[in-house]
């Protein structure tokens, strides 16, 4: 009984230690369970896949660097998919802290693997303050909001932007976000301008997005690192997400173990207290 009481009131640092061990264990013993694809992830993949090759897709980097573990693999997998299909990619970010820098680094890295040329096959518009003004403004004219790209090159000097003037020239918007920005893309851009939108979000935000997928306002959804792993599997490019699934699996199992342990202790102490009273 005393044992269960101690278990119920265990110092939280033992819990932290268990989680730390469960996350580091798969680094030593690689298990690799197969990743199964969910219908919503398949929907997003198909939406991009069905676009004609050489379509223009807008890929947004609306996440802070702290969520990069979940969202960066999504962006990387998306770029692989788009460049494999010879799509032209326009990237931008509504997050001032890190978004455009991450976009610049990742797109250049992935584009180099496919011999894509900056300004012809892809452009990074960078960041502009006030997402409301940006999202509404892009409907009229991209150049009115972004007169130059992230590297301060005027848009008129970039051949890709000759044929991409506003949302009418964009086939799909792929939002990768860790915050409410994806809500604004749906409320402003999809609802008011009818541009199809799909998104990859962190696992915390994903449950909310199911209602938008269900209502048809969003075409497809990736949720957390599992979603990124699903997309990597579909694209055929194993990356950090698939490799991270083992650690996430062990962490989930550790939490389930703790929950079960806590409940056994709860019932054991309650039963004993009932008998004593």
């Amino acid at each position: 009984m005393e044992f269960w009481r101690k278990i119920m009131n265990i110092d939280r640092r033992w819990v932290y230690l268990l989680i730390a061990l469960s996350v580091t264990f798969p680094m030593i013993v690689v298990i690799k369970f197969p990743v199964e694809v969910t219908p919503v992830a398949r929907q997003l993949y198909d939406a991009i896949d069905k676009l004609p090759d050489s379509s223009v897709v807008m890929l947004t980097f609306d996440y802070y660097p702290n969520a990069a573990a979940e969202t960066e693999p999504m962006s990387i997998a998306a770029l692989h998919h788009m460049f494999k299909k010879d799509m032209r990619v326009v990237t931008l970010s509504n997050i001032p802290l890190g978004g455009p820098t991450i976009a610049e680094r990742i797109t250049r890295e992935i584009a180099a693997e496919y011999d894509k040329v900056y300004g012809v096959d892809y452009v990074n518009l960078g960041y502009k303050a006030n997402y409301n003004a940006v999202m509404h403004g892009l409907a009229n004219s991209i150049e009115s909001i972004f007169p130059s790209d992230y590297t301060n090159t005027p848009l008129k000097d970039l051949p890709l932007m000759d044929s991409v003037k506003n949302y009418d020239d964009i086939g799909f918007i792929y939002v990768v976000a860790d915050n409410a920005t994806v809500d604004y893309w749906i409320q402003i851009v999809n609802a008011q301008y009818g541009v199809p939108i799909g998104s990859g979000v962190t696992a915390v935000v994903a449950p909310k997005m199911y209602s938008f997928v269900n209502s048809g306002q969003m075409t497809g959804l990736l949720g957390g690192m599992k979603g990124a792993a699903e997309y990597e599997k579909m694209v055929g490019e194993e990356g950090k997400a698939i490799r991270g699934m083992d650690a996430q699996s062990m962490a989930h199992l550790a939490i389930i173990f703790l929950v079960i342990l806590g409940n056994i202790g709860f019932f054991a102490t309650r039963k004993k207290e009932g008998k004593e009273s």
């Binding site: 265990i10 939280r12 819990v15 932290y16 268990l18 989680i19 730390a20 996350v23 298990i31 369970f33 197969p34 990743v35 199964e36 969910t38 219908p39 802070y64 660097p65 702290n66 969520a67 990069a68 573990a69 802290l97 890190g98 820098t101 303050a129 006030n130 409301n132 003004a133 509404h136 403004g137 696992a203 449950p207 909310k208 199911y210 209602s211 269900n214 949720g223 957390g224 599992k226 792993a229 699934m245 083992d246 996430q248 699996s249 062990m250 962490a251 989930h252 199992l253 550790a254 939490i255 389930i256 703790l258 929950v259 342990l261 806590g262 409940n263 709860f266 019932f267």
Partner: protein, 249 residues
């Protein structure tokens, strides 16, 4: 005046945004520019003006923040109160990132001529926010890892919160606990493989009934309720009924 002007500004700004949703304000502005000969209005939208003002005012308030952080921490440093060294570090960090980022990278401007009169030309790459700048280095090698570390702490905090909160105290708590365990299993390959031992379709049923069923219903209820609450609050603010946020009762 002090009470009236903010209410009037709130009403006008809100009214312009509402009008912009229902009317093509660019057409209205074009008509006004033709009728009254005001060329500067041509091609503009009403909401564009409001959004521009928001951006300008936001920019000025950044200065307020810097004053506040310096004043609060400098006072503690001067008094040598507890933890004064960390407060000094805070103030130094603010300027260490801001000053190099604001320095010009080109000699063509007036500021550039002054700065590169003092510093050697080879230091140009260190200024501004480019890939080789001090700002970028501090962000990539200090700020970013610290942000990622804080975010990673969530994993530990979730475990301790789940351990404490997921107890089958009553029927609702039991339902919460069971749903959480099922979804935690479903969301990882190892757990999904375990669920498939019972039935190959079990993960699909979880997706269908829990994520696309109960979850969507609850999320929609909360989203609709919150949206109505927000709309009601916005209307009260626009009409000047709710003024507590201004500090007026």
């Amino acid at each position: 005046m002090k009470k009236t002007v903010p209410v009037v500004v709130a009403f006008l700004a809100g009214f312009v945004m509402v009008i912009s949703f229902f009317f093509n304000t660019e057409q209205i502005m074009n008509w006004l520019s033709v009728t009254f000969g005001m060329d500067s209005l041509h091609g503009k939208t009403m909401e564009g003006f409001v959004l521009q003002w928001v951006t300008i005012v936001s920019g000025f308030t950044l200065v307020l923040g810097v004053f506040s952080i310096v004043r609060v921490n400098a006072r503690a440093v001067a008094k040598k109160s507890e933890g004064w060294f960390y407060k000094l570090l805070t103030v130094v960090s603010v300027f260490a990132m801001a000053i190099p980022a604001m320095l010009p990278v080109s000699k063509d401007t007036v500021g550039g001529k002054i700065v590169f009169g003092i510093f050697p030309d080879s230091w140009r790459a260190l200024f501004g926010t480019g890939p080789t700048s001090i700002y970028d280095w501090l962000f990539t090698y200090l700020d970013q890892p610290m942000m990622e570390t804080m975010f990673a702490m969530l994993a530990f905090f979730i475990a301790s919160a789940a351990y404490r909160a997921f107890r089958a105290r009553n029927a609702e708590a039991t339902l919460l606990l069971l749903t959480a365990v099922i979804v935690m299993l479903w969301r990882v390959p190892m757990g999904e493989a375990f669920l498939r031992l019972f039935s190959d379709s079990l993960p699909n049923y979880i997706d269908l009934f829990i994520m696309n069923g109960f979850n969507v219903a609850v999320q929609r209820g909360i989203i609709i309720g919150a949206a109505l609450g927000a709309a009601s609050m916005s209307l009260r603010i626009m009409l000047g009924i709710e003024r507590t946020y201004m500090g007026k009762g």
